[in-house]
């Protein structure tokens, strides 16, 4: 049986073969990428994956695709303006990361594919139902709220004496707040003490760190969103300095210096998102494209970080990891 990783490119190729793309039609299509954090430029890690997935479907920037990326850098108020900017530049379809972007795009009425950070889209009101989103937004949900429990489990597996977890999230992001609440409830049922560290702006991190200094947690769980993602380095540093095991929501964090991550495979998510964009380009309405769930979740452990912190993860945990960064 093919493994998931090997299958994906084949899958994309099959899609490309099954439906001849617009590459032949000679029409130039505009795709905008909107992020609430850093813009998803073609040379960023997510941008690269997206462009690659689109290329497999026959879209090449500069040939038949105009790709424009904008990021609000955590200033969510800018989002409507940025979407307008993208639209003015010709982008009729958007790829979005993060619930605020999708919500802003929905408000602007632009067909949008959200590939990460959507939370529970029905609960946030982004879509009507999973099978028939109904509006202008479709995409992939990483159902991170349930995964938080799994993340706590991994934290606990890393340090079995875990009692107290500090949770960092952006209180301005409704999806993230929901996720925090779900996580906190689950954590409490498992006998854990959650130390809520809501932040609203970069300066709040100092306060969060100070709180942790005062009341030291056993581990950190960072809920990913624009604000927290932009300030990840500070969290990494703080965790390293205080030898706190930490877990993040996607493998990119672990690869950039985070200790552990557990979340939907971004390659898969972006490949599916590219496929949805392709369908929208071909005339499908986003409201008719079912909102999907990821099928693959990656557990990544960064051994370099672990060693630098002087922590040794249990062998059983390492055995569970899909990827161990040496």
């Amino acid at each position: 049986m093919l493994t998931r990783r090997r299958m994906l490119p084949c899958l994309a190729a099959a899609c490309a073969a099954a439906s001849p793309s617009f590459a032949q039609s000679g029409k130039t299509l505009h795709l905008g990428a909107i992020a609430s954090g850093a813009p998803m430029t073609p040379d960023s890690s997510l941008g690269k994956i997206l462009i690659g997935a689109l290329a497999d479907l026959g879209y090449a920037p500069g040939r038949n695709l105009v790709y424009a990326a904008r990021g609000a850098l955590a200033d969510l108020a800018k989002l409507p303006g940025l979407i307008e900017e993208l639209r003015a530049a010709g982008s009729e379809t958007l790829v979005a990361i993060g619930y605020p972007c999708a919500a802003a795009a929905k408000a602007a009425g632009v067909p949008t594919v959200i590939f990460a950070g959507a939370g529970d889209p029905v609960a946030t009101g982004l879509i009507d139902t999973w099978a028939h989103p109904g509006g202008v937004v479709t995409g992939i949900s990483d159902i991170a709220a349930t995964l938080t429990v799994k993340r706590l489990e991994f934290l606990k597996a890393f340090s079995p004496q875990l009692k107290r977890v500090a949770m960092l999230w952006n209180t301005d992001d409704r999806a993230m707040t929901l996720r925090y609440q779900a996580s906190a409830e689950t954590a409490q049922t498992q006998g854990l003490i959650v130390q809520p560290l809501g932040v609203r702006e970069p300066d709040d991190f100092n306060g969060a760190f100070a709180a942790m200094d005062r009341d030291k947690p056993d581990a950190i769980l960072m809920v990913a969103d624009a604000l927290t993602a932009l300030n990840r380095k500070r969290v990494f540093e703080y965790a390293a300095a205080h030898r706190l095991p930490a877990i993040y929501e996607s493998d990119s964090f672990a690869r950039e210096g985070g200790l552990m991550s557990y979340g939907a495979d971004q390659l898969e998510s972006l490949t599916r998102a590219a496929s949805m964009v392709d369908r929208i380009f071909k005339g499908a309405r986003p409201g008719d494209i079912p909102f999907e769930q990821p099928t693959r979740y990656l557990f990544v452990v960064n051994m370099k970080t672990a060693r630098a912190m002087g922590l040794e993860p249990p062998v059983t945990l390492l055995a569970l990891a899909d990827d161990v960064i040496e």
């Binding site: 049986m1 998931r4 099954a18 999973w130 099978a131 995964l147 079912p290 899909d322």
Partner: protein
């Protein structure tokens, strides 16, 4: 465009010599296919027929083959797709098999968990694994999304996943669409051994997509999977699956759902149960369009795997072969056309030559010969044609000679007939001019007999005198006039008169009896023919014809002359009858005229007599009372004078006196009016008496001019006496040759005076009306008309309107104001002129311009 239309221009332009001859048949109205066209059509048609039949058979066969092959292939594909779907499940089962060994139960929970985690890593489709012990209690659960749990003890002993798995070793649960979109399924597998536990796996069926997408069915075909209820499990378009699509609406799916139970497992099954394959069919795809579809039931499930391929793709080879056939057909057609037209042209050329030869022969060119050396039947045909042309030419020449002779005869007869007809025409046209009729007859007879001379004699008592002649010198005419012929043998005419028979002398010199002096010399003739003109046995005259040279007249010529002679007899008779009729008609007309005149006069005198009696009676009866009225009126006037004198002596008051005087004056005035009108009545009565008088005086020859002049002067002076300011220009235009005319002078003068005074009145009236430089004029003129004379009185007065003109001669009709005319003037004038003098009076007028009275009377006086 039919084939025929297509070929026609080709045939029409391909004449052998390259010129575009108009098709001969075209002149005959109907289009006929040239031979070349027919041959080409036949050839091309044959080729097309063969190609079409061949192509159709080929196409049909290849269609059948391709279809059955495609169906076979589809079934095979369906089978293999079902196997692959089965493998997907088998793989999961295989992996689960790791945990179903009898000894696995006894391993440490940590080890068991580790095995489960490994299993999850191995099988991406499995999202959750749990282990139920022999009592159906959950001992271990490992999940990708939820927290793992060890020894939770949840009771599944009543759950089908436990019961069914224990019973059947393996249980494949129904499809469950989580959150309404993600298809999940549970597989439970019983462990080996007594009181077996069960390993339960939650499988994300989205991952069958990988399997399904990898199945290639031709270029555009694909495979999809439905569950036992027809719900879509896997489809290359993931959205359809996520939307929980019900495929049972498709007929082929419905059919498959009905049929799957009865399907036999395919033979040659391997270890794994071979899929049951349904028959392939042509159906409509979910997204529309015709597809070739087949299905197979995936092993150990009730899932049905469908494969489908667009019909067009499946039958592509058929289309290709059809295209080939069509191309071949086109090529064959083209070749057949070229070869056919070339061949037809070669065949048709000599036939065309023959045809044109025949046409020229038909057009009259009998010397036409056709030169063909093709060495085949056509050459033989050409030879025969030439022979035929020769024969036709020979018989044509003979025929022409005969026709010439016959035509000459006919012409001769026609000439005679025409001449006869001409003669008859002349006779009928100038039936009463005997001389011209006879001249025409003799001229025609002479011409027809080839005789230079011809004479017609008619009987005049004992003698025969020349009446008409043709072609003889004047000296001979004079001779014949001077020597009328008597019956006797010395002249030919005389002989005929004697015998009543035709005298025919071929040579005058050879006739010993003949003795007519120098006639043959003067008349310059040698042969003679005399035909009698006989009516009722009596010879009225003869036709005498002569030729300057000797020779007998032919029988036909004699007949012609006899015919003409008969015509001459008829003409003579006609003239005689006509003259008789004319004379009689003249007599009758004279008689009728005399009768009519007498009748008119009788009526006139009757009328005059009765009118005269009437008026005289009336006048006489009125005369006496009128005298009383007049006389007593005059007397009463005198008495009034006396009354006035007496009144003057009376002593009465002035007022009464003046009233009485006034009354007396009025009575006197009235009496004066009585006297005046009484006198007028008297004059009317006098006039009436005049009317009644039949003839007052005697008629005698009178100088008309003098009478007219006298009347004009009298009228003028009378008018001046009556009206001192009267003036008019008088014009007298008197014809001196008129002389004396027998008339009643008194009455005639009276008429003239009447007309002239009317003219004066009209002219004066116009002058009074016009008030400009109008000069009233009256013209009196006379004219000698031989036995009649004419008198005209013309004025340039007011003229007479038409309605007056009709009635103006009626008695008592007048246009003058009351008291000025009696209305008897013109009535009286009419009576005098018409009745007394037997003449005529007429009027010409134009209102506003003139009036002219014309009197015409006989010079010799009134008819008796």
């Amino acid at each position: 465009m039919t084939l025929r239309d297509f070929i026609r221009p080709l045939g029409a332009t391909s004449t052998p010599d390259g010129t575009a001859l108009p098709h001969p048949a075209a002149s005959r109205g109907a289009w006929r296919a040239p031979l070349a066209t027919k041959l080409a059509t036949a050839l091309v048609g044959l080729v097309i027929l063969v190609l079409v039949v061949n192509g159709a058979v080929n196409t049909w066969l290849s269609y059948d083959r391709a279809k059955s092959a495609a169906l076979d292939v589809q079934q095979e594909k369906a089978s293999s797709a079902a196997v692959r779907v089965g493998e997907f499940l088998a793989e999961i089962e295989n992996q689960l098999g790791w945990t179903t060994g009898a000894e696995w139960r006894r391993t440490q929970p940590d080890q068991q968990r580790y095995d489960f985690v490994r299993l999850l890593r191995q099988v991406p489709a499995v999202t959750e694994l749990s282990y139920l012990d022999g009592q159906g209690k959950e001992q271990l659960k490992v999940s990708r999304l939820e927290p793992d749990s060890i020894g939770s003890g949840r009771d599944f002993s009543k759950d089908p996943r436990f019961i069914r798995a224990v019973a059947d070793k393996i249980w494949i649960g129904p499809i469950d669409f989580r959150r309404g979109s993600e298809p999940y399924m549970t597989i439970a597998m019983a462990h080996i051994g007594r009181e077996p536990g069960v390993t339960v796996a939650d499988v994300n069926l989205k991952l069958i997509w990988d399997v399904i997408s990898a199945i290639r069915v031709g270029e555009k075909g694909y495979a999809f999977v439905v569950d036992g209820k027809g719900r879509l499990i896997a489809h290359p378009d993931l959205s359809l699956v996520l939307r929980d699509t019900d495929m049972s609406q498709l007929p082929q799916v419905r059919q498959a759902l009905e049929d799957k139970a009865s399907l036999e497992p395919a033979p040659g099954g391997q270890m794994m149960a071979a899929p049951r394959v349904g028959t392939a069919a042509i159906a409509t795809a979910f997204e529309g369009g015709s597809v070739l579809t087949a299905y197979a039931v995936a092993p150990r499930t009730d899932w049905i795997v469908f494969v489908q391929m667009p019909l067009a793709e499946a039958l592509a080879s058929v289309y290709r072969s059809l295209l080939q056939t069509l191309a071949l057909l086109g090529l064959g057609l083209l070749l057949a056309l070229i070869v056919g037209s070339l061949l037809a042209r070669r065949m048709a050329a000599p036939i065309r030559r023959l045809q044109r030869g025949a046409e020229r022969l038909g057009a009259g060119d009998l010397s036409q010969r056709v030169d063909i050396h093709t060495g085949d039947e056509i050459e033989t045909l050409a030879d025969r044609f030439n022979q035929m042309a020769q024969r036709i030419k020979e018989s044509h020449d003979t025929l022409e000679a005969r026709v010439g002779a016959r035509t000459q005869d006919l012409n001769e007869a026609l000439r005679q007939q025409t001449a006869t007809a001409d003669v008859l025409k002349v006779i009928s046209r100038s039936a009463f001019d005997l001389k011209s009729v006879l001249t025409t007859l003799i001229e025609s007879a002479a011409g027809l007999c080839g005789a230079a001379r011809g004479v017609v004699f008619l009987r005049d008592g004992e003698y025969m005198r020349i009446q008409a002649h043709s072609g003889i010198p004047q000296t001979f005419v004079d001779f014949l006039v001077a020597h009328p012929i008597r019956p006797g043998a010395e002249t030919f005419t005389g002989r005929t008169l004697l015998t009543g028979e035709i005298t025919h002398v071929p040579d005058v010199l050879a006739d010993s009896e003949y003795d007519f002096g120098p006639a043959p010399q003067i008349g310059e003739f040698r042969a003679a023919l005399v035909v009698p003109l006989a009516r009722d046995g009596r010879i009225e005259g003869v036709f005498s014809l002569a030729r300057p040279e000797p020779g007998a007249f032919s029988h036909r010529e004699i007949e012609v002359v006899r015919t003409f002679a008969d015509q001459a007899v008829i003409a003579i008779e006609n003239v005689r009858l006509f003259e008789q009729v004319q004379a009689r008609t003249k007599e009758l007309a004279q008689t009728v005229d005399d009768l009519r005149t007498a009748q008119d006069r009788l009526i006139q005198s009757e009328k005059l007599a009765s009118l005269g009696q009437l008026t005289a009676g009336i006048a006489h009866e009125i005369k006496n009372p009128l005298n009383f009225v007049n006389n007593f009126a005059a007397l009463s006037r005198e008495l009034i004078e006396e009354l006035k004198d007496l009144l003057a002596t009376l002593k009465i008051d002035d007022k009464t006196k003046s009233e009485i005087e006034g009354l007396a004056e009025m009575v006197e005035g009235n009496l004066a009016k009585v006297v005046q009108h009484g006198k007028r009545a008297d004059s009317i009565v006098k006039n009436m008496l005049l009317h009644s008088r039949e003839s007052s005086g005697e008629h005698r020859p009178v100088d008309l001019n003098a009478t007219v002049e006298e009347a004009v002067n009298l009228a003028y002076h009378g008018a001046r006496a009556e009206r001192p300011g009267f003036n008019i220009t008088l014009v007298k235009d008197l014809d001196p040759s008129v002389g004396d005319v027998d008339l009643y002078p008194q009455e005639f003068t009276r008429v003239l005076l009447n007309l002239i005074s009317n003219g004066f009145y009209a002219a004066t009236k116009r002058k009074a009306e016009s008030r400009d430089a109008f000069e009233p004029t009256l013209t009196a003129s006379t004219r000698n008309l031989g036995d009649r004379v004419e008198v005209k009185i013309r004025d340039n007065g007011t003229g007479i309107p038409p309605e007056v003109k009709d009635k103006m001669f009626n008695p008592f009709f007048t246009t003058k104001p009351a008291g000025e005319g009696t209305g008897l003037g013109l009535s009286l004038s009419y009576d005098i002129i018409v009745k007394q003098h037997g003449g005529a009076i007429d009027v010409a007028t134009k209102p506003g311009e003139f009036t002219e009275f014309t009197i015409v009377i006989a010079r010799g006086g009134p008819p008796r």
